[in-house]
Symmetry: C2
Subunit: 188 residues, 2 copies
């Protein structure tokens, strides 16, 4: 059986404090987010709204929504967790999909995500270099549907660019109406 | 395309007030909920925690998680919405599934839910008599994973008993660790 921790609320708070320095913030599609110096990543329900924040995004980890057993097992065999000492580079990519995506049935979304766009398979090619955690926020409100957090070593950052570049060319990305690409490095 | 409204936060507050009279509250599996006279059903994010409540459960509507296009279309062709004048009976059934369920991959959960348990097909047999809305709460915390709300006319209440009875005999229900069955009628 896969290890599957209970849902974890995670807040990403941009401002003057936090363990991550924001190096670059690029609007890929739709409205951007304001620039800030640092990002604070806080886990758990104690992460209260921060009145001084430039912005704050919150999401929860969850169960698998599309991944099949054979895919989950293949991923589990090679992927590594967050917090590796060498993984001093990170990316936070908040995404919102359109109403047409959310009106699709489960089999239609799966077909676009994997059979047409190879979302899971593409990600496999970048394991274990890139570690990843997906946070859902559509059901709890807020301006995005997903917040994906990636970590890798500096020498793998260009490979990470290849991955997000490939995903942005897929049929799945036709449903993305807002995307911001935020690159970070661990603050000294 | 299916009409698919955005996620809606709904709170179910048991206490002395509300449009629904609680007629019966039966623990089916695991810990029960406390008895109360009335249930208040409030939609939208304005539904603040109620300090005087006997209990309060909150969940959000969401996109389809298992339903295929052909099933969704068949359901949409016959189902009716909440709030029908003749539907003066209701049921609220909060359910929690175990960790083994949530550790399954998407195809494994779908196979148990439909190919083995015929969850969607069973429900079809009771349309349009029984109207239904599913609220998710696992990712937002709280003691249950799902809150399902049903409405029907008094003469269809015994058919509703048949439906929940059939579901409780399925393979899917082996994963249910907590369930409370609350029956209500519209307060005069």
């Amino acid at each position: 059986m896969l290890r599957m921790p209970p849902p974890l609320l995670v807040s990403f708070t941009a401002g003057d404090a936090g363990a991550w320095t924001i190096d670059q913030l690029t609007p890929v599609r739709g409205e951007t987010l304001a620039l800030a110096a640092r990002l604070d990543v806080l886990e758990g329900s104690g992460s209260a709204p921060a009145p001084d924040a430039v912005w704050q995004l919150r999401g929860t980890t969850s169960n698998l929504r599309y991944t099949l057993r054979k895919e989950a097992s293949a991923l589990a065999a090679v992927q590594e967790g967050l917090g590796r000492a060498r993984a001093t580079c990170a990316a936070l990519i908040p995404i919102r999909k359109n109403d047409a995506w959310w009106a699709l049935a489960q089999d239609e979304r799966r077909a676009i995500l994997e059979e047409q766009s190879r979302h899971v398979a593409l990600g496999m090619d970048y394991l274990p270099a890139v570690a990843r955690r997906l946070h859902h926020c559509r059901d709890i409100g807020g301006p995005f549907d997903f917040l994906t957090w990636f970590e890798c070593a500096p020498q793998d950052a260009s490979r990470f660019d290849d991955l997000v570049g490939a995903l942005r060319e897929t049929a799945e990305w036709n449903y993305v109406v807002r995307e911001v690409d935020i690159r970070l490095s661990r603050a000294a």
